[in-house]
């Protein structure tokens, strides 16, 4: 059975964007359309409600081989280690992630920045540890590099996932206008 492609990363690190790339590459996507596109993600979220319940029930992964699914960090640690995966790990500067989240939640969390930064550091560490312990192959994709050099970055992704797609075509999905929460400081 083919590997399950899992796109992970912290919320607001470009996971939906990577799902769009995979969609463009004609990879079947596990999604249910429950979460609709909005101003924060105009192209859609490509999410599956079952993922939210992964702690209690991860059986949705049983027949997911060959599909791509988005599972934000640290939820991949609840995946079945017995199945085969290829992980695309979206990474973005934490300061940018925090700003982007605050903007999305319309909430000023500057007084709790360090708290959330530390929590996210733990989430990242935990997710990587799970990959290492279970020999799960992954590729880190830096969001900022994806925006700056989409073809180079996507060539590496295409190669890692063994996709039959052209990185230049896929790079059309990357819309710099979405990169609006960049940390200018």
């Amino acid at each position: 059975m083919s590997d399950i492609i899992v796109v992970t990363g912290l919320p607001r690190s470009g996971t939906s964007l990577m799902m769009q790339v995979l969609n463009k590459a004609k990879v079947p996507i596990l999604q249910d359309g429950v979460r609709e596109s909005d101003i924060s993600n105009p192209q859609g979220y490509f999410e599956l409600e079952d993922v939210k319940n992964i702690v209690a029930d991860n059986s949705f992964l049983d027949n997911a081989g060959g599909n791509a699914v988005k599972i934000v960090a640290p939820l991949p640690i609840y995946m079945k280690p017995s199945l085969k995966y290829k992980m695309v790990f979206m990474r973005r500067d934490l300061e940018e992630i925090l700003q982007s989240q605050e903007k999305m939640l319309l909430k000023d969390q500057t007084s709790e920045r360090e708290k959330f930064r530390t929590i996210y550091e733990f989430h990242l560490k935990k997710t990587y540890r799970f990959f290492a312990e279970n020999n799960i192959p992954f590729i880190d994709v830096n969001y900022n590099e994806l925006m700056a050099k989409p073809i180079t970055t996507l060539t590496a992704v295409v190669e890692f996932l063994g996709l039959d797609a052209d990185a230049e075509d896929l790079s059309e999905v990357v819309n710099p206008e979405l990169y609006r929460n960049r940390n200018e400081g």
């Binding site: 709790e112 920045r113 360090e114 708290k115 929590i119 733990f122």
Partner: protein
């Protein structure tokens, strides 16, 4: 003749404390425990944080910390939206009764907390719910009193044991009299305390009756009996114990001042009966999970938080062991409650799990046995006993009764239905609070085991800014400092300053810890001094202040602070340690020796105290005694290189070729490499010292770059490539030397003013002769380095006050 089979009687007295026992023994009031002590060993048993009995007794029975065994707090979710008393269901690892079952040994286990539902082990198990006389919130009449389901294994024994139980209603007034001699004067309806005492007597009598019955009627290898009553007596009545506490009503004091003494005597009587049932070939172990403050350290009030009464617990329980092959009349040191199960295993020549956090107490044996190890008992798939009831099958009424008991004791709060809430909402909130609280205990257990990241991760998830809990915030800041997340610590400090949650001294203490972490001694000192002004007797503040003053080598002031701590609590091991260190820094070795000995006498398991003790003895030329101290450090902390180095040096000094060779090899194994660093303020003295050392044939890296203009400490491998006898590191860069090496640091002491003048006389700085800005900068730099050096366990530091001393034997030995 075949070796006689070992039998062990293990008696657990929750909260038993040496201060009480020693006093009452001296008065001849505890003959039973005295008889065991007289023919065996005694010691203190360090408790764990948090000091909550179900967690502690499970650690005692498993040899692992709570984050491994999974039993957290007093209550847990029942999986159906409600809560129940903590049960056996949550335990994730084998207890000693499972290990013994796997080995075919028979165990009697009575009333262990928690042990309900019981397990079908090889032997008999009677749970901590067997003696429960309530159903729901009501007391059951004697004729309707049944045995709770799942509280006895084998089940058929439940019927036979039914008459061993004593109902509180069966306790006659004359049984209460030894506890409250003027009980007849009391109106029982007005003062419920007599009923409470009757209940404790009834419960402990039942536990005792079951234990004595099993000792007599069953074939056993180990009988383990646990009494919770002493802890309950102490929580209820220690405040009435002499001397009379300030503000306590004199009538109440007169009435109840004998209760705690009575409880100890009562437990000793029960022990005496058990001892009469066994022969001298049976090994006896008596232990407690923590102590209980009985003197001026009794807290004046109990905080209104879950498990608040635990503030009355003292950090050391008791340990006594006597029997064949066990030393007589000796003290053992460094024992922890984690060591009980490994020690039990060693008594039966069984292997210790490498996954255990405790160690066998080999010091109890006349001839230490060979200790065997296995990876884990929990992965040994032989049958060790299973719970007799599935999760959720215990009686809800029994659970409710046990919950009520915990509420009565003040360990947990009852469900509170707030205005506008229905009972369902209130219960849901209650459950969430229970889960949150248990997560807090899990986090604390991680921190106590040195796993600060794990602790922090949990606390950041459960901490709620809308409902701040000061315990969470303190722990977050402490863990942030321990993991060097100072920005996080500061963010929380800003938050707590904005709320009226803590006393100012506490905020000052936390601020100081952050400043020390940031190598900012002036600010740390300011925060502590301010905290000290408002709360001059706060021990935490004084200890941190003393520590900082020692780091800054303000030794006279440090002595004053530590003397104050010792005055408040003469048994504080850290007070004696700090005083000793200050005296050592002042080269008053005799005083230092006295205080280091005091410190290790109060708390033996302190590798650092033994290290200072050894160094003091070595400086006093007591080489053989010094060697013994360093050997203790090596046993306690085998990865610390410093004692090996000392042992090597002492072996050379005493010309012991065999030991020279031995410690040379051991040193090689523990250190990757060693560098000798010379540093100090860049003045004339440093310059002269470098010249003298260089003249004596030593190659010195960086000696011509006094201000460090060419050195790049940010390059990862800069230290690796140095092939010189000594490395000169400018003071400002000392904190950046790579931690993978071990260092001997020769620190050239010179006054800041002299250094400033020297620098100004150099061509490039001839602008002023006395440059205040430069002095300020040098002072800051010196403070930063002092703080950094004061916190490095692996530094060997020698201060040089005169350049010409560079040629002395001491310095030459130090740098060779």
């Amino acid at each position: 003749m075949a070796k006689k089979k070992r039998k062990v009687l293990l008696v657990g007295w929750d909260a038993a404390d040496w201060k009480m026992i020693d006093k009452l023994m001296a008065d001849g009031q505890l003959p039973a425990i005295k008889s065991v002590i007289d023919r065996g060993v005694r010691g203190r048993l360090a408790t764990l944080d948090p000091p909550l009995s179900p967690m502690l007794w499970t650690s005692m029975a498993t040899g692992v910390r709570p984050y491994k065994h999974g039993v957290l707090g007093f209550v847990e979710s029942d999986g159906k939206g409600g809560v129940r008393p903590i049960s056996s269901n949550g335990r994730k690892v084998d207890a000693f009764w499972n290990m013994f079952t796997k080995e075919g040994l028979k165990s009697n286990v009575v009333a262990w907390w928690p042990s309900n539902p019981v397990e079908n082990i090889n032997g008999v198990m009677v749970s901590n719910q067997f003696h429960q006389e309530k159903m729901g919130k009501n007391i059951v009449e004697i004729d309707k009193w049944t045995v709770p389901k799942g509280s006895v294994h084998p089940e058929h024994l439940a019927e036979e044991m039914i008459d061993l139980r004593l109902h509180p209603y069966e306790i006659p007034g004359n049984l209460v009299m030894p506890f409250v001699p003027r009980a007849v004067e009391l109106d029982k309806k007005q003062d419920k305390r007599l009923n409470v005492i009757a209940k404790f007597i009834a419960h402990s009598s039942t536990v005792h009756a079951v234990a004595t019955e099993l000792v007599d009627t069953t074939d056993w290898d180990i009988t383990a009996v646990y009494h919770d009553a002493l802890d309950h007596f102490c929580h209820g009545f220690m405040k009435f114990h002499p001397p009379q506490m300030e503000g306590l009503d004199s009538d109440q004091y007169d009435l109840y001042q004998h209760v705690v003494t009575g409880a100890y005597i009562w437990h000793d009587m029960m022990l005496g009966r058990l001892l009469n049932q066994i022969d001298e070939d049976t090994t006896v172990i008596i232990c407690s999970d923590h102590g209980f403050h009985s003197d001026h350290l009794r807290p004046k009030y109990v905080p209104d938080v879950p498990s608040g009464p635990a503030i009355e617990h003292a950090p050391y329980g008791v340990f006594v062991a006597a029997g064949p092959g066990i030393k007589k009349g000796e003290k053992i040191h460094g024992a922890s409650i984690l060591d009980i199960t490994p020690t039990l295993l060693s008594l039966f020549d069984l292997p210790i799990g490498r996954d255990m956090d405790g160690k066998p107490l080999v010091g109890i044996y006349e001839n230490a046995p060979e200790i065997k190890y296995i990876d884990s008992w929990s992965t040994d798939l032989r049958f060790g006993g299973e719970l007799v009831l599935k999760d959720g099958e215990t009686s809800e009424a029994t659970n409710e009764a046990a919950l009520q008991q915990l509420i009565d004791l003040g360990y947990i709060n009852d469900v509170e239905v707030k205005e506008g809430q229905d009972i369902e909402e209130a219960s849901k909130e209650y459950l969430l609070n229970v889960i949150r609280e248990n997560n807090f205990y899990l986090a604390k257990s991680y921190a106590a085991g040195g796993k600060f990241d794990e602790c922090l991760e949990i606390l950041l998830e459960i901490e709620n800014r809308d409902k701040p809990d000061f315990r969470h915030l303190i722990e977050i800041i402490n863990c942030s400092v321990r993991t060097r997340r100072y920005a996080l610590a500061q963010e929380y400090l800003v938050f707590i300053r904005s709320k009226d949650l803590f006393a100012a001294n506490f905020i000052g203490l936390l601020e100081a810890k952050v400043h020390i972490g940031l190598n900012n001694p002036a600010e740390a000192l300011k925060a502590l001094e301010e905290a000290g002004e408002n709360f001059p007797d706060a021990p935490d503040v004084l200890l941190e202040l003393g520590r900082l003053l020692n780091i800054l080598r303000q030794s006279e002031r440090a002595k004053t602070v530590y003397a104050k701590i010792i005055n408040i609590d003469p048994d504080n091991p850290y007070g004696h340690l700090g005083y000793g260190l200050a005296a050592m820094n002042l080269e008053d070795y005799e005083t230092a020796l006295e205080y280091f000995l005091n410190s290790v006498d109060r708390f033996y398991h302190q590798p650092i105290a033994h290290l200072y003790l050894g160094e003091t003895l070595a400086l006093m030329k007591e080489y053989e005694m010094a060697k013994r101290s360093f050997e203790v450090v090596v046993t306690m902390s085998p990865s610390l290189p410093k004692p090996y180095r000392w042992l090597y040096d002492l072996a050379e000094l005493t010309e012991n070729e065999e030991e020279v060779e031995k410690y040379k090899n051991m040193l090689k194994n523990v250190i990757e490499g060693e560098r000798i660093v010379i540093t100090g303020l860049p003045g004339k003295k440093l310059s002269d010292t470098l010249a003298l050392l260089s003249g004596s044939g030593k190659s010195i890296f960086g000696k011509d770059d006094l201000l460090g203009e060419e050195i790049d400490v940010m390059r990862k491998d800069w230290m690796d490539q140095i092939d010189a006898d000594l490395v000169y590191v400018p003071l400002g860069q000392v904190g950046s030397i790579p931690s993978r090496f071990n260092y001997r640091i020769l620190f050239v002491n010179e006054s800041i003013e002299d250094v400033s003048i020297y620098l100004n006389e150099l061509d490039n700085l001839r602008s002023k002769t006395f440059n205040l800005e430069l002095i300020k900068a040098l002072r800051e730099q010196l403070g930063v380095v002092q703080i950094w050096m004061g916190q490095q366990p692996n530094l060997d530091l020698l201060y040089l006050d005169r350049a010409e001393d560079a040629e002395s034997e001491l310095v030459q030995t130090f740098i060779s």
